[in-house]
Amino acid sequence: MAGPMKMRATLAGGNTEVRVLMTHPMTTAQSGQPLHFIQTVTVKQNGKPVLEAQTSQAVSRNPVFSFRLKGGAKGDKIEVSWLDNKGESNRIEGVVA
């Protein structure tokens, strides 16, 4: 059961700035507990994948991700989703303000 996500997408200087907050324990090998961390973050702009990030254990618990997408317009649909090493996932959809 994945925790809440929150997203803000705005236009700035002709580009789309996206900030996403994610809930995830991001448990690392250091903790001695089973590994549990986000491995991929995918961003879609109007249904089209525009960014895929492969992330590692170095990212902290409850991470914040910021992206800048070239161009874009008000009303664009932005979707951010993540997949972790256990196969769990979560996604959030929003609109560029």
């Binding site: 925790g3 809440p4 996500m5 929150k6 900030r19 907050l21 809930t23 324990p25 902290s60 618990r61 409850n62 914040v64 910021s66």
Partner: protein, 263 residues
């Protein structure tokens, strides 16, 4: 002349290690304030506020936090205060317990079973505190100070603040009693003075990055007493509410910035 000016230049170039550390801490504080998990706790809190619970299967949406039943906006900034229905001064967490009991029919035992959470599972109080406090962003801190019981609670809080006890003879003022002091690298605000109390009350409750946990005021007071080598304060007891009111009233007038993000 050249040699003298070179020496002078070198003298001014030697960095004091503590000053460098302070700058780095300020940078770090700016970084963590940007995009804080606090917002996730506010979302979780709003969900809990609306969730039917307890034997009566009712949500907290009719809870009166001081501005009328169900009014969350601006409520936190006006706490702690006297409540006629309970005939006592209450802070946010004691008021939530009251509503859990009165509205939801939950027992005190059940509602207080797990008031402090951990990084994997926050407690209800943490989510609810974040949500309700967040709804006071921009409001001037204005806890109750005029009712007779509010005055009594303030006086008790003030006495407790300066009261030395325990095997290490500590009072709150042992750490928070003198200007420009710090414990290790943590600056210590003189919480009995408005100038220092204001920015503090304007940013608590808060998310502690180092533990990945949202810390409420009851937790903060609890952990202070632990570090003072005292026995444990009873959750939402009169003593804790009095200390809370003393701090909030000393910091009154400050616009609330919302739940903070701390080291």
């Amino acid at each position: 002349m050249k040699r003298l000016s070179l020496l002078l230049a070198l003298a001014f170039c030697v960095p004091a290690p503590a000053q460098d550390a302070k700058k780095e801490i300020q940078k770090y504080q700016q970084m963590i304030a940007d995009g804080s998990p606090v917002e996730l706790f506010e979302i979780g809190g709003e969900e809990l506020w609306k969730k039917p619970q307890g034997p009566k299967k009712v949500s907290l949406e009719k809870c009166d936090l001081g501005r009328g039943a169900g009014v969350v906006k601006g409520a936190y900034a006006r706490l702690p205060r006297y409540f006629k229905d309970a005939d006592r001064v209450m802070d946010l967490e004691s008021r939530l317990l009251y509503c859990m009991s009165m509205l939801q029919g939950r027992s005190a035992e059940e509602a207080t079973k797990r008031v402090f959470g951990n990084q994997d599972t926050p407690s209800e109080m943490e989510y609810l505190s974040a949500y309700i406090a967040g709804q006071s962003r921009g409001e001037k801190m204005a806890p109750g100070t005029t009712h007779a019981k509010e005055k009594e609670a303030f006086a008790l809080g003030e006495k407790l603040f300066f009261h030395r006890a325990g095997p290490w003879d500590f009072s709150c003022a042992s750490c928070h009693g003198e200007e420009n002091k710090r414990i290790r690298m943590q600056d210590l605000p003189v919480l009995s003075k408005p100038a220092a109390a204001r920015p503090v009350v304007a940013t608590w409750p808060a998310y502690r990055v180092s533990n990945s946990q949202f810390k409420t005021m009851q937790w903060r007071i609890n952990d202070c007493y632990r570090q003072m080598r005292m026995p444990e304060p009873v959750f939402a007891s009169e003593a804790t509410i009095a200390v809370n009111l003393f701090l909030a009233a000393t910091g009154k007038g400050e616009p609330y910035r919302g739940p903070g993000t701390k080291r």
